[in-house]
């Protein structure tokens, strides 16, 4: 099973926490997005391995953009 995690809003990629190959548990932070007045952690929704991190720090993501793939 692979999970594609996509941005839910326009935001700035503030910090990339996880790397491809990392083993993550449900609820682990993969990436932290920054948006007006708040920071938004992007979390793994199930236990797995990070297959891809599709963003870099400083990138601006639009709603629907791919952020990470966990499988």
């Amino acid at each position: 099973m692979a999970e594609e995690i996509r941005a839910e809003m326009v935001a700035n990629v503030w910090k990339v926490v996880a790397s491809p190959g990392d083993t993550v548990a449900e609820g682990d932070t993969l990436v932290i997005l920054e948006s007006m007045k708040m920071e938004i952690p992007v979390l793994a929704e199930f236990d797995g391995v990070v297959k891809e991190i599709a963003v870099n720090e400083g990138d601006v993501v639009q709603e629907g953009d791919l952020i990470a793939v966990v499988e």
Binding site: N12, W14, M36, K37, M38, I40, P41, G58, D59
Partner: protein, 183 residues
């Protein structure tokens, strides 16, 4: 008097603490996490201009703002030809001294220098003191810029139009007239 100037890296830590303190005092950290971002001044200085307000005599840090142009990582509202500012914060102990106004004015001046037609910002809906400051400086509500990044966080958009750049001065033509009348 309050002096506004670009921040230096040696000040980043203090600026971060001041920003967090100001947001906390205004109730803006109660509901959503934002503290790590607010504290990371080096990060916002990477591609944007971080300004500080200091007491001209003592040099004491009084406030900060980040001036942002479209295309920067922090730009979220501005379109080409506009500017925005973010993370405006005044030391809670230095409020009501015109610090916020001086910082906003510095952003308006920078936007004008860049030839921008407007400055766009947004505020939390409950930030009434900030809204009074902005409205007193010519910002008007721009409901088309309102948005809500997550439920419960309601942001109100404001726009301050800038006068079009002054028409180019005429010395060239005057010079030609002078020279033609001289020949």
């Amino acid at each position: 008097m309050v002096l506004v100037r670009p921040a230096t890296p040696a000040e980043y830590a203090a600026i971060g603490e001041l920003t967090v303190a100001a947001y906390r005092a205004d109730g803006q950290l109660d509901d959503k996490p934002y503290e790590r971002v607010l504290r990371d001044v080096a990060r916002r200085a990477r591609r944007n201009e971080v300004l500080v307000a200091v007491d001209e005599e003592s040099g004491q840090l009084l406030g900060t703002v980040t001036f942002v142009l479209p295309g920067s990582d922090l730009a979220q509202l501005s379109r080409p030809g506009e500017a925005e500012f973010r993370m405006l914060a005044v030391d809670p102990a230095a409020q009501r001294r015109g610090v916020g106004r001086a910082l906003v004015q510095a952003c308006l001046s920078r936007a004008a220098e860049h030839g921008c037609s407007a400055v766009v910002i947004c505020t939390r809906d409950f930030a009434k003191a900030a809204q009074r400051l902005y409205e007193g400086m010519g910002f008007v509500r721009a409901p088309q810029l309102d948005w809500s990044p997550v439920p419960g966080v309601n942001l109100l958009g404001l726009r301050r139009r800038l006068p079009p750049p002054a028409p180019p001065a005429q010395p060239e033509r005057a010079g030609r007239l002078t020279s033609s009348s001289a020949t």
